[in-house]
């Protein structure tokens, strides 16, 4: 019972959800059923509509401007403005250091390798977890997402426990190597590819592939020539996200590679927090943004070329029984590899001074050995949950508005460009270093706009910075759904007398709400795990779970260490639970993530 949600437009050139709006500029005669139908009451209505969109754009822009752009630009400005005038000599100096180029090269190499391997392993994973049916599939889908949101400090501990000389995988001699970093990056980002590609694949109209098969193509050929091209939008979307995450990885690289394998991100952190060399940090921040924008631009082009002529179905394609052996084997191996560090974490949390037990879990209700903490781990969990609720609400409001705006394809070229830029701008928080955001926030958000309370010391900024990180994920989850809305649905609603607000609510809203479950899950999970910027802004008397884990691991005493691992397991289970629920809430239309 599959019903095509959208068909390729009659001309074959329209992209789904955009219809004739994808007509190249210069082609006259807009489609007759455009919103400005002859019944439109005229100029007053156009102004009102313009105002509504302007407000819809202003809210997210204001949010991002105040809580992201202002802090970041202020800090970068400190580095590049000397005695009131712009001094760009820092570029020549920093870019003249061989170390800088080595680090830029390492960053690109690690991000490229991490992305390629994640995609190569993730596509079979998507096939198995989203195109096949077998018992336990839902559990495995939630399981693969756990690494994505684990705090890097916990993953670093788990990886090093496996890889060190006398660890279970010590014979591979990977400790402190480039390979270990890439492996950890794949560990973190595998889920991004599986979910992004799987979500689309699940809803891909199977008939073109069936047609190819019935015309005599081998399964491999049908996959390569029909299915793979259709998956390209999801693949490029996943690849660009993974590239961003890899290129800006911080904790993983620092713990597993030290300075030998520093990246632009770790270098910014060292230059800022240890040397206070804001000139170098600013130059490196600009370099990082250039790399990120270039990656986004490449991905955006590849995606745009491919997104047209895609046909989706509105319920998941009934998955063919058991998975094909090749992807099944690949995925089984990957799942075992993903499970290894998690198992190391679990075993560590169960190991007590004199054998095995739940002592460290019982200790979560205490403040640790010698009162290592100011609150119990459970209280910290409560703080995390509260902050995550706030961050999720903020990220959803802002992210949905952005997705709504970006899903439009205005007829005017300038407006269309603006929409494209907006799409990219809201991805930037994923590509700017947390230390830049955190330090910048300390500089700018003390008493912004004359607020009497010092925002930096109250803890209210914690959910805000978490939301800044979560917004891009919400956008990427909701956007494809909105884009896939058949414009004829809106037009039909319009000609039947529904006002634009009503159209928005009953057509776009109703469809988007079904993807919102997953967006909520992701935003929530990302907020739970965010550490970088949070660590600058969390109040010591109200720490979040990742902050107490970090603190416990930094305190003497084997009990505190065991407690940190137990707290890490709790965070992992909570994340898996949140993602499993989000998966259930997810409507029939999947997002990219």
């Amino acid at each position: 019972m599959t019903r095509p949600l959208t068909h390729p437009s009659p001309t074959g050139s329209g992209r789904p959800g955009t219809g004739a709006r994808a007509t190249p500029p210069g082609v006259p005669a807009p489609p007759p059923a455009a919103p400005t139908a002859p019944t439109a009451p005229g100029r007053g209505w156009a102004v009102a509509r313009g105002t509504a969109w302007a407000v819809a754009a202003a809210v997210p822009l204001l949010f991002l401007g105040v809580f992201f752009a202002w802090p970041v630009l202020t800090l970068v400005g400190r580095g590049l403005v000397v005695d009131g005038s712009l001094d760009l000599s820092g570029f020549a100096e920093v870019l003249g250091r061989p170390r800088t180029w080595r680090i830029v090269g390492l960053t690109l190499a690690q991000a490229t390798l991490g992305t390629v391997i994640s995609v190569l392993l993730g596509v079979p994973g998507a096939a198995v977890l989203y195109r096949s049916r077998f018992p336990g599939r839902g559990v495995l889908r939630a399981f693969v997402t756990v690494p994505f949101v684990l705090p890097t400090v916990v993953v670093g501990v788990a990886f090093r426990a496996l890889l060190r000389d006398n660890g279970p995988l010590g014979f591979l001699h990977l400790d402190g190597t480039f390979a270990a970093i890439v492996a950890a990056l794949v560990f973190f980002n595998y889920a991004v590819v599986v979910r992004t590609v799987g979500g689309l694949w699940e809803r891909l109209d199977p008939r073109p592939e069936q047609a190819a098969r019935s015309l005599g193509a081998s399964p491999a050929r049908a996959f390569l020539t029909v299915t793979l091209p259709a998956l390209t939008p999801a693949l490029t979307s996943a690849a660009s996200l993974v590239f961003l995450f890899c290129a800006t990885a911080f904790g993983t690289v620092l713990v597993l590679g030290g300075m030998r394998f520093g990246t632009v991100e770790t270098e910014i952190w060292i230059q800022t927090t240890q040397f206070l060399d804001l000139r170098a940090a600013s130059v490196l921040s600009v370099v990082q943004v250039v790399v990120v924008v270039a990656a986004l631009a490449v991905a955006g082009r590849a995606r745009a070329r491919r997104e047209r002529a895609l046909s989706l179905v509105d319920t998941p394609v009934r998955a063919v029984g058991r998975p094909h052996p090749l992807p099944a084997v690949v995925t089984a191996v990957v799942l075992v590899l993903l499970a290894l560090p998690l198992a190391a974490l679990l075993l560590g949390s169960l190991r007590t001074g004199d054998g095995w037990g739940l002592d460290h879990y019982r200790a979560l209700g205490t403040t640790g050995g010698r009162n290592a903490l100011t609150v119990t781990v459970w209280e910290a969990l409560g703080n995390s949950l509260r902050a995550a609720v706030d961050a999720t609400v903020l990220a959803l409001v802002v992210g949905c508005l952005v997705a709504l705006l970006v899903s439009r394809r205005p007829r005017r070229t300038a407006a269309r460009r603006a929409v494209g830029v907006l799409d990219g701008v809201f991805m930037l928080p994923l590509g700017v270093s947390a230390v830049t955001v955190g330090f910048g926030a300390l500089l700018t958000l003390g008493h912004p706009f004359g607020i009497a309370t010092d925002l930096r010391t109250t803890g209210v900024l914690v959910p805000v910075v978490q939301a800044v990180v979560a917004v891009p994920l919400v956008v990427r989850t909701v956007l494809p759904v909105l884009r896939a809305v058949d414009p004829r649905l809106r037009e039909a609603a319009g000609t039947l007398g529904a006002g634009p607000g009503r159209v928005l609510a009953t057509v776009d809203g109703a469809l988007a709400v079904r993807s919102a479950g997953l967006a909520v899950g992701f935003a929530f999970a990302v907020s739970l795990g965010e550490f970088g910027a949070t660590s600058f802004l969390a109040r010591p008397d109200r720490p979040t779970l990742p902050v107490v884990i970090f603190r416990l691991i930094g305190q003497p005493g084997a009990d505190n260490y065991g407690m940190a691992l137990a707290a890490g397991v709790v965070l992992a289970l909570l994340t898996a639970g949140v993602m499993a629920v989000a998966e259930r809430l997810r409507g029939p239309v999947g997002g990219e993530l």
């Binding site: 439109a40 009451p41 209505w45 009102a48 105002t51 509504a52 407000v55 809210v59 400190r78 670093g156 501990v157 426990a161 060190r164 000389d165 006398n166 620092l254 713990v255 030290g258 300075m259 030998r260 060292i270 800022t272 927090t273 240890q274 040397f275 206070l276 060399d277 001074g353 004199d354 010698r370 009162n371 902050a387 609720v389 706030d390 609400v393 903020l394 508005l401 300390l442 500089l443 003390g446 008493h447 309370t453 010092d454 930096r456 010391t457 109250t458 209210v460 006002g499 634009p500 607000g501 600058f536 109040r539 109200r542 603190r551 691991i553 930094g554 003497p556 005493g557 084997a558 260490y561």
Partner: protein, 364 residues
């Protein structure tokens, strides 16, 4: 005009949604109990005072509450990072200070904080201030020593006893082939014990000699881990995490943590001939909203109650001679008699150069 009304409604809805979200955030972010953070006092007792610390600051339950009860002050805590990050943030925000008083600037960053004008001089008159005086970074009174500790190499007694290898004692011993592949230290650029150990080698071998020492150390199979916990729990054989290296960079106060649950002696010991002394300071921030409250907090940090609590809460040694060390510390965690030292102005002048040279030398 149905559409116009609908459009207006959309605007209203959007605005209402935004306001609702902000309101919701505001109420749950504060957990329903907005405390502290309001404008500071005006120089008299009462009001609020904001304490900026590194992220290891902690005192036992009740101490801070007692201070608040005694003074009528409300204390707000901010902990925006570890040692170096803390000082750098104070420098960046000195036009709009993060708080009134700072605790946790150590002797490797003290001169920078003073030179940048982050602090306002204050000389405490409480009894322990006399004990703190010898540790003062200069005679400006900008910073008051609160506690100290020694960063030293620790050894796993059992590892050496089992193999019949004598334990090393000096820095030079570590470059002996007998101790090849046995030592793990931490990154001097990213961890404060790592920086302290780099300074110990500068103190031991001089400004011209430390680099050759590190070359020898690296050639003898040195491992550089990222942070203290990474080295101690993952690489150190005596840290309880099952690592493979029996010599690790840690603190003079670490051994008592390795006393078996059944009692007896610690399974590890500190090499007191390899130590660098860290001193942690408190000071009143320039531009404090509540300088009087800030001074009272400095006095409180030197009070017997807090000084006596410091070993248990922060693993450091109190500066005050009036309080007793915990029993296991008195027995198993002595401070070094002659730790390596480097003059503070030399550290301030050369720290970055040394760290950059160290980075090139050791991590390539």
């Amino acid at each position: 005009m149905a559409r116009t009304r609908a459009a207006r409604r959309t605007i209203r809805h959007t605005a209402a949604l935004g306001v609702a979200a902000l309101a919701l955030t505001a109420c749950s972010a504060t957990g329903g109990s907005p405390s502290g953070g309001s404008a500071g006092g005006d120089g008299t007792a009462g009001g609020s005072v904001t304490l900026v610390t590194h992220d290891s600051f902690h005192v036992s339950d009740g101490l801070l509450e007692q201070f608040e009860a005694d003074t009528g002050l409300t204390v707000t805590q901010v902990a925006p990072g570890d040692g170096g990050a803390l000082v750098n943030q104070l420098i960046l925000t000195k036009d709009a200070p993060l708080g009134d008083v700072v605790y946790g600037i150590d002797n490797t960053f003290a001169s920078r904080a003073i030179d940048e004008g982050v602090l306002e001089p204050y000389t405490s008159q409480v009894p322990a201030a006399a004990d703190a005086e010898p540790y003062a970074p200069d005679d400006s009174g900008s910073l008051t020593a609160v506690d100290l500790g020694d960063v030293c190499l620790n050894v796993d007694h059992a590892w050496f006893a089992d193999r019949g290898v004598p334990e090393p004692a000096t820095l030079e011993d570590l470059t002996d082939p007998a101790y090849r592949d046995l030592t793990v230290v931490t990154n001097a650029a990213t961890s404060s014990p790592g920086l302290a150990f780099l300074l110990a080698t500068v103190g031991a071998f001089g400004e011209d000699g430390w680099q050759q020492y590190w070359r020898d150390l690296t050639a003898n199979g040195l491992k550089v881990a990222e942070g203290w916990s990474d080295a101690y729990y993952t690489d150190f054989s005596g840290g309880g995490g099952g690592g493979s290296r029996p010599i690790a960079l840690s603190y003079a106060s670490s051994p008592p943590e390795t006393i078996p649950e059944s009692g007896g002696e610690p399974t590890t010991g500190a090499l007191l001939g390899t130590c660098f002394r860290q001193v942690e300071y408190a000071g009143v921030l320039a531009g404090a909203q509540n300088p009087e409250g800030a001074r009272r907090l400095v006095d409180w940090l030197l009070s017997d109650a807090v000084q006596g609590d410091i070993p248990g809460s922060m693993y450091m040694y109190p500066v005050s001679s009036a309080v007793d060390l915990p029993e296991d510390w008195a027995q198993w965690a002595p401070l070094a008699d002659e730790p390596y030292t480097v003059p503070l102005d030399e550290i301030a002048a050369n720290r970055e150069t040394w760290v950059r040279e160290w980075t090139d030398l050791v991590t390539g």
